[in-house]
């Protein structure tokens, strides 16, 4: 059997984490290609449903990256996200999906290194957790 390669969905805000990911690129800091990013303007845009959708469609992990608290381009978007993510994790738990599969990180536009480190450690964590338990579950 080939080694399990997790598929990670990244949901990042335009101003910080996405820019941080860009900086990792400009600085040529390498990380594994398991992450696929969707850009939104602010993490405050992220509906819990995006996260549920990602798992339903087979993602093994979801990484949400926003500005540091206090630095959100839209003042408070990331506070809302922090709270939303915490309840989303509860809901996931009750559905039998490990809450650790959702990670929330504050990554500024100047933290290219942090972005790549986060991605690497998250991939490792998901590797330990194994594939998304929903994979192979019948669609009812």
């Amino acid at each position: 059997m080939t080694e399990f390669e997790p598929v990670i969905i990244g949901l990042t805000c335009n101003w910080c984490a996405y820019a941080g990911a860009d900086l990792a690129g400009t600085s040529k800091i390498q990380y594994p290609p398991n992450i696929r990013i969707i850009r939104v303007m602010c993490t405050g845009r992220i509906e819990p449903e995006f996260i549920f959708d990602a798992f339903r469609m087979g993602a093994d992990g979801v990484l949400i990256g926003g500005c540091h608290l206090g630095d959100c381009h839209y003042q408070e978007g990331n506070y809302k996200t922090a709270l939303r993510v915490s309840i989303t994790r509860e809901v996931l738990k009750s559905l039998g999906i490990e809450p650790e599969r959702v990670r929330l990180e504050w990554i500024s536009a100047s933290e290219g290194k942090k972005f790549s480190e986060t991605v690497k450690s998250f991939i490792e964590e998901i590797r330990r957790l194994g594939p998304n338990p929903l994979k192979g579950a019948p669609e009812a």
């Binding site: 598929v7 990911a21 690129g25 990380y31 594994p32 969707i38 939303r84």
Partner: protein, 728 residues
């Protein structure tokens, strides 16, 4: 309260529920239920989670103008950039082109060496025409780089610029997976598939236009605010200049001479202050503060509070009779940093603009003890008015310039230097007042302890600057200020011994290094070493400076009879009031943050609000003035244009779905979405001018009534599906 409300209740944080009002609790729970119900029905059979999802029957196709989306089938063109070799060396672009061309709506796919170049853009335009493309995908560098470039190419072909989708194959693929070309190619395909998925759902969007009030508000009347006001007024716009203290002038008015040319500060500043007071386009609100600001670029409303001076400004001629007759003359003068005194009725300094006296209520005998009123009786113009009240004025402006300046670092925070403990330890700003002919000693540089002329003076650099315990940044003016003051001390007392203790002497400006040479030739001693401590000799109030001479590598002591601390520049203590009123950002050092440190140095994140002077960071007068003119010119652009265009990627409420819960209203920090009072069901409505497109409301709306243009639920859902489908 608003913050707690928005970020707790509507972001459904369980911990906070218990603190909420019962009604809020039920609303909260209702919301939680809706979320889980509408997005998934959960059941657990055989310990295996099963998710079932609603059909997407609610998916709408309304464009921001309310019209339904164009009927035409998407005809997508995909342009894959080599970026020279940056992408193509890692990602097999031909393979990605093949992959993309197999998608049903993709009618054209091609690779190109540099899509952003002139020929690259021509290629896009040519194929829009040739293949009747109505959606364009560019797979290249980050959308943060060239979005505008490509949008313009679409526009040139008469295509709505928002029918463009960029996917990032460089920063987020080839550059970060350089050693895994196969996997990078697979990822590139997935990213392109996601862009195609989104592109099929892209809608034409039209920016909105708003008219602009042709006036500006300048907050802070130091040299920065003065320069910005004069420039804006000279362009021809009405300017409201608001200054907190009784006179404009700021710190520059307190300086004696200015480096490196040694012009007398008052001589170059006073004419500008007078120009402000005389300019027909400038309304000067002195002794005033901005209480609140609402609105948006082009249409700001500000409430100014003009504090009561207890002297009628239209009657006062500045004759000064009140001050001379006032029996209380021993109030420490703030302008002289407490080194001199003033009357209760006062002007801060003789050249004050406006030349109107102010009665300091807190120290006035009439206000504190109910007796006196001498000024009222003696004023030849009957200008004293003890019944005056603070006055509120509403003004409307199109743009705002922040020029609130700095505070001097409080040297008490470094107790090892003995400031305020030892009489002969002064700050650099106090030195300015002492050496100024208009200052408390009439320009006599004397020791506060005994009024004697100092024979040996030390200047100690970096007080509260470049210090991890206080401020890590360099204050940029103190080195030159000390070098200037050392020169002034030598000029007064050629026989005096003058030492400057520094970590590095930073004399970077035009003519600054030359000035340093000159001062060294005059006999000023420069000692490279950080001062650790200052002790006092109780007998004669002389001072011992303990320092590490880093050139000799020794700890040494030296005696002085006067020490000047080169205190740094700090953000103003009250800067947060303006920051909160305008929702501005601060940099880590707590000065106001510019929109971009290099490319947008005088703009802020809030459209229509600009920065200049030391409010943005420490700087000297030449830099302050240049920046103030830059801010004025930026602030005049919307005023000259007469209208502003807003980003169309904002929120839109579908009234048919809205349940009038007002959750969005409490979530939006920009007050951009509110119950529509004209609607009988009070359903929500977006103020397109205020909405910044953050998407918080859309994520919170339990009825899914809100569409975020450019980032719709359907688009993101399709992107997810594409990203989670392994490419073949």
């Amino acid at each position: 309260m608003q913050i707690v409300w928005t970020s707790t209740l509507h972001s459904y944080m369980p911990i906070f529920v218990s603190f909420l009002h019962p009604l809020q609790q039920s609303q909260f729970l209702f919301y939680c239920c809706l979320i889980s119900l509408s997005s998934l029905h959960a059941g657990k059979a055989l310990n295996r989670p099963i998710l079932r999802f609603q059909s997407s029957s609610w998916v709408r196709t309304v464009s921001r103008t309310g019209k339904s989306r164009g009927p035409e089938e998407p005809r997508i063109g995909v342009f894959i950039c080599h970026c020279g070799s940056n992408i193509a060396d890692i990602v097999d672009v031909k393979e990605v082109v093949d992959f993309a061309s197999k998608f049903p709506n993709v009618v054209f796919a091609v690779d190109e060496r540099y899509v952003c170049s002139e020929p690259g853009q021509a290629l896009i335009r040519e194929n829009i025409r040739k293949h009747k493309l109505n959606r364009v995908i560019v797979a290249s560098c980050s959308p943060r780089m060239h979005e505008t470039t490509f949008r313009k190419a679409l526009e040139a072909e008469g295509l709505n610029p928002f029918l463009l989708e960029i996917t990032n194959l460089r920063e987020q693929c080839s550059w970060v997976h350089m050693h895994e070309p196969r996997k990078a190619t697979q990822k590139a395909k997935v990213l392109v598939a996601s862009a195609i998925a989104k592109a099929t759902l892209l809608e034409p969007l039209t920016p909105m236009k708003f008219s602009v009030t042709p006036a500006a508000l300048v907050i802070g009347g130091g040299i920065a605010g003065i320069q910005a006001s004069l420039d804006l007024a000279n362009i021809g716009f009405k300017v409201h200049l608001v200054e907190k203290t009784p006179s404009i002038g700021g710190h520059m008015a307190q300086l004696d001479k200015t480096f490196p040319t040694l012009d007398c500060s008052a001589c170059i500043l006073t004419p500008k202050m007078v120009d402000v007071s005389r300019h027909p386009n400038i309304t000067l609100w002195s002794y005033s503060e901005v209480e609140s600001i609402s609105g948006f670029i082009g249409n700001f409303k500000a409430t100014i509070v003009e504090k009561a001076r207890y002297i009628n400004k239209s009657l006062c001629t500045g004759c000064g009779t009140c001050a001379s007759k006032c029996p209380v003359k021993t109030i420490p003068n703030e302008f002289d940093l407490g080194l001199g005194t003033r009357s209760v009725a006062y002007i801060p300094f003789p050249q004050a603009v406006p030349l109107i006296y102010t009665i300091d209520k807190e120290n006035c005998l009439y206000f504190t003890k109910g007796v006196c009123r001498v000024c009222e009786k003696t004023c030849p113009f009957k200008a004293v008015d003890f019944n005056q009240q603070d006055k509120k004025v509403e003004i409307e402006v199109g743009t705002i310039v922040i020029a609130t300046g700095y505070d001097l670092f409080d040297a008490n925070r470094k107790p090892e230097y003995g400031y305020k403990q030892y009489k002969n330890v002064l700050t650099n700003l106090e030195f300015e007042r002492l050496i100024s002919a208009a200052g408390p000693t009439g320009g006599q540089l004397v020791r506060p302890s005994d009024g004697r002329a100092p024979k040996k003076i030390a200047f100690v650099q970096c007080i509260g600057s470049r210090d991890i315990l206080t401020n890590p940044y360099c204050s940029r003016v103190c080195c030159m200020a000390s070098v200037k003051q050392a020169h002034q001390a030598k000029e007064k007392y050629p026989d005096a011994k003058v030492f400057v203790f520094y970590i590095d002497l930073r004399t970077f400006g035009k003519g600054y290094e030359e000035f340093l040479w000159r001062v060294q030739e005059e006999g000023v001693n420069l000692v490279r070493g950080k001062v650790a401590e200052i002790y006092r000799k109780p007998k004669d109030e002389n001072l011992t400076v303990l320092f590490e001479d880093t050139l000799l590598g020794q700890t040494r002591e030296m005696d002085f009879d006067m020490v000047i601390l080169a205190a740094g520049l700090e953000p103003r203590v009250d800067a947060q009031q303006i920051q909160k009123a305008l929702k501005l950002s601060m940099s880590p050092d707590s000065f106001f943050l510019e929109a971009h440190p290099k490319l947008r140095p005088v703009e802020t994140h809030i459209a229509g609000v600009y920065l200049c002077g030391c409010a943005q960071g420490p700087k000297d007068i030449p830099d302050v003035v240049a920046q103030a003119s830059a801010a004025a010119s930026q602030a005049s652009i919307p005023l000259i244009q007469g209208e502003v265009v807003s980003e169309p990627t904002i929120a839109y409420v579908d009234k048919e779905l809205c349940c009038s819960c007002k959750i969005c209203e409490s979530v939006c920090v920009y007050d951009a979405i509110e119950a529509d009072e004209t609607d009988e069901e009070k359903r929500a409505k977006v103020n397109e001018a205020l909405c910044v497109g953050c998407g918080s409301c859309a994520a919170a709306c339990p009825a899914r009534a809100i569409t975020m243009y450019g980032f719709t639920k359907e688009q993101i859902s399709k992107q997810l599906a594409a990203l989670l489908t392994e490419p073949t």
